[in-house]
């Protein structure tokens, strides 16, 4: 069964460094998402992406964050200058349509900012 994959599974970085989290969505999906879960807190929506542009974003998704689909298979989340509070599990998801349809989640990347 097709699945969403994410790399790396764990990443440790120093505060102020840039990180890029990578995701390979399911191949025939058109909508892509990033969510994050700070330890002990809710899973929070960050951004959705369709047709090479952001379709929705939350207030969390500020200028420090950006997303890109650099080729036909990868979907990336970049954090330009990491803060301690960016430490979280980051989940990528994809779906065939924008709403009503099931969002399929990857296993997550655990980011630790020191």
């Amino acid at each position: 069964e097709p699945e969403v994959t994410q790399t790396p599974s764990h990443q440790v970085t120093q505060m102020g460094q840039e990180v890029i989290l990578r995701c390979v969505p399911i191949s025939n999906h058109l909508y892509f998402y990033w969510y994050r879960q700070i330890l002990g807190q809710k899973v929070e929506f960050l951004v959705s992406f369709y047709n090479n542009e952001i379709s929705e974003k939350s207030e969390i998704f500020d200028d420090q964050f950006s997303v890109e689909r650099p080729d036909g298979s990868n979907f990336t989340l970049k954090i330009r200058s990491t803060k301690l509070e960016d430490s979280a599990m980051y989940f990528c998801a994809s779906s065939t349509e924008g709403y009503r349809e099931t969002q399929y989640f990857g296993p997550g990347t655990r980011l630790l900012v020191l």
Binding site: E3, V4, Y31, Y33, Y35, Q41, K42, V43, E44, F45, S48, S55, E56, S58, F91, A93, G98, Y99, R100, T102, Q103, Y104, F105, G106, P107, G108
Partner: protein, 113 residues
């Protein structure tokens, strides 16, 4: 703004017993409702969803949920749990026309022999 409340952070239950995981949402308009499960070291997997129609929704692994508009609830139930059902369960809501899912804090189901 949408919000989801899962009152139980942890639910311990014995194998083969029934279980109900509670979920309430805040909205006065139509919503889509979802239950996801997360097994250790894995991503979130959809158990079931309510979009419209019958208020009783059946999902995978023997789970079902009932949409109750008057009580703004979408409780998840299983008549007989297995050890393998031990996992974290998340209730989520989305507004029609919007893509983002709003999640609850999750309920950890612990099934013991």
């Amino acid at each position: 703004a949408q919000s989801v409340t899962q009152l139980d952070s942890q639910v311990p239950v014995f194998e083969e017993a029934p279980v109900e995981l509670r979920c309430n949402y805040s909205s006065s308009v139509s919503v889509y409702l979802f239950w996801y499960v997360q097994y250790p070291n894995q991503g979130l997997q959809l158990l079931l969803k309510y979009l419209s129609g019958s208020t009783l929704v059946k999902g995978i692994n023997g789970f079902e949920a009932e949409f109750n508009k008057s009580q703004t609830s979408f409780h998840l139930r299983k008549p007989s749990v297995h050890i393998s059902d031990t996992a974290e369960y998340f209730c989520a809501v989305s507004d029609p026309g919007f893509q983002k899912l709003v999640f609850g804090t999750g309920t950890r189901l612990l099934v013991s022999p």
